[in-house]
């Protein structure tokens, strides 16, 4: 057993003075096993969401609070929670789950502004930020702040109201937690500023409501899938498993490469060619990057 581990992880006569794990054939095998594992993980997370699923703990109030903190830190006024905008955000989230899309505009052409006007909110300016698969409110707001277009939307001083919806459901066959953040300013609340509009995150600029195209009616939004998934109480996130596995594998490679470089240097082993140092540098960078990768997408 010990000799097998030495053969696998350390340079030795048995492996031609190079750990067997670093041989291209072994790395190819690792790649094959990793692909197989990912397929299995996808299969189980799709078919057995009660075991491999995802449940975020995102409080809408905290998103609003964090948004207002960022706005105040950047000289913009705080936003007021508007129930109509929240209803619009919930309707948008329900529509995304019902039609199974991840975009500002639905596959049938429904724009975010449709949900806002449908909720009874007559806006002069409006905007929308989307996020999915995040685990906590801070990560969501940080991701929006890191993206120039989302940041512009979030800090836009033309907005006075905010609406938030955080809904669990299935998107593209996978469980997700969707965060819809809608901003707005009522027609009665803001003076006209030269007919200009705000542009952010790829959504259409919000202009006067009457200039909007006639929206295509959407299916009645339902939050049933959300409540269903909440009762399932998923325990293990596929992302966390993948991240732990990736970091673990990279750490093993880094340690084996480090051992290889040190042993070759100490024993003055002469090789036909030297590649371990380059691989070590590359793997170290990958390890650092893997540690900082966070779940979650914004749009």
């Amino acid at each position: 057993m010990l000799s097998f581990l030495r053969h696998l992880f350390l340079p030795h006569e048995s492996n031609n003075q190079r750990a067997k794990l670093l041989h291209p054939s072994t790395i190819s095998l690792v790649i094959g096993v990793f692909i197989l594992f990912q397929f299995s993980l996808n299969f189980f997370s799709t078919h057995y969401p009660q075991i491999l699923g995802y449940a975020a703990q995102i409080s809408p109030e905290e998103i609003i609070s964090l948004t207002n903190q960022k706005r105040q830190a950047n000289g913009a006024g705080p936003l007021n929670l508007d129930q109509e905008l929240s209803a619009a955000a919930a309707a948008k989230a329900a529509d995304m789950f019902a039609r199974d899309y991840w975009a500002h505009v639905s596959p049938v052409g429904t724009q975010p502004w449709f949900f806002i006007t449908q909720s009874g909110y007559s806006y002069r300016y409006a905007g929308e930020n989307l996020a999915r698969d995040f685990s906590d409110p801070q990560s969501v707001v940080n991701a929006w702040m890191d993206s120039p277009t989302h940041r512009e939307n979030l800090l836009n001083s033309r907005y006075s109201d905010i609406g938030i919806a955080v809904v669990d459901g299935k998107l593209g066959g996978h469980e997700t937690t969707l965060v819809v953040q809608m901003f707005g300013t009522r027609i009665s609340a803001a003076p006209v500023v030269g007919g200009s509009s705000s542009t952010a995150l790829g959504v259409k600029p919000a202009k006067a409501a009457e200039t909007l195209p006639v929206p295509v009616p959407t299916a009645a939004p339902t939050l049933n899938s959300a409540s269903l998934l909440k009762t399932m109480n998923p325990r293990v996130s596929p992302f966390d498993i993948t991240k732990a596995l990736s970091i673990g594998m990279l750490a093993v490679f880094v340690i084996v490469l480090l051992a290889d470089v040190i042993q070759v240097w100490r024993h003055k082993i002469v090789r036909w060619t030297s590649k371990s140092f380059a691989h070590l540098a590359f793997m170290l960078v990958l390890l650092l990057a893997a540690v900082m990768v966070n779940r979650g997408l914004i749009l």
């Binding site: 291209p24 790395i27 190819s28 690792v30 790649i31 990793f34 692909i35 990912q38 999915r132 698969d133 991701a143 929006w144 890191d146 993206s147 989302h150 998107l171 593209g172 996978h174 997700t176 596929p238 992302f239 993948t242 991240k243 990736s246 594998m249 990279l250 470089v261 070759v264 240097w265 003055k268 082993i269 002469v270 090789r271 036909w272 060619t273 030297s274 590649k275 371990s276 140092f277 380059a278 691989h279 540098a281 590359f282 793997m283 960078v285 990958l286 650092l288 990057a289 893997a290 900082m292 990768v293 966070n294 779940r295 997408l297 914004i298």
Partner: protein, 89 residues
């Protein structure tokens, strides 16, 4: 060939490698709000790494198909690992 000799003969090669990796790492941090951009950076980084390996070993006069394969396998491993992480939704 020991690593000291290799480094002494080709310090510029290792400097270029370090720059490639540092720029890539910076990009991955900077664009942490966009998994697709991060993946594009990682694919570019991996392709650059393979290119670096080929050029380095060609200069070294020890370029062999087995070496190219080794760099390719490492690059594929990196891309797969990160694609599974970044696109895991």
């Amino acid at each position: 060939m020991t690593f000291e000799k290799d480094f002494a003969h080709h310090p510029l090669h290792y400097f270029v490698l370090l720059c490639l990796l540092m720029v890539g790492l910076w990009g991955l941090f900077w664009f942490d709000y966009s998994p697709l951009i991060q993946l594009a950076i990682l694919v570019s980084m991996s392709a650059s790494y393979v290119t670096w390996g080929i050029v380095h070993h060609w200069h070294h006069r020890d370029l062999h198909i087995k070496i190219v394969f080794e760099y390719l396998v490492i690059a594929i491993f990196a891309v797969l690992l990160f694609a599974s992480l970044l696109l895991k939704t």
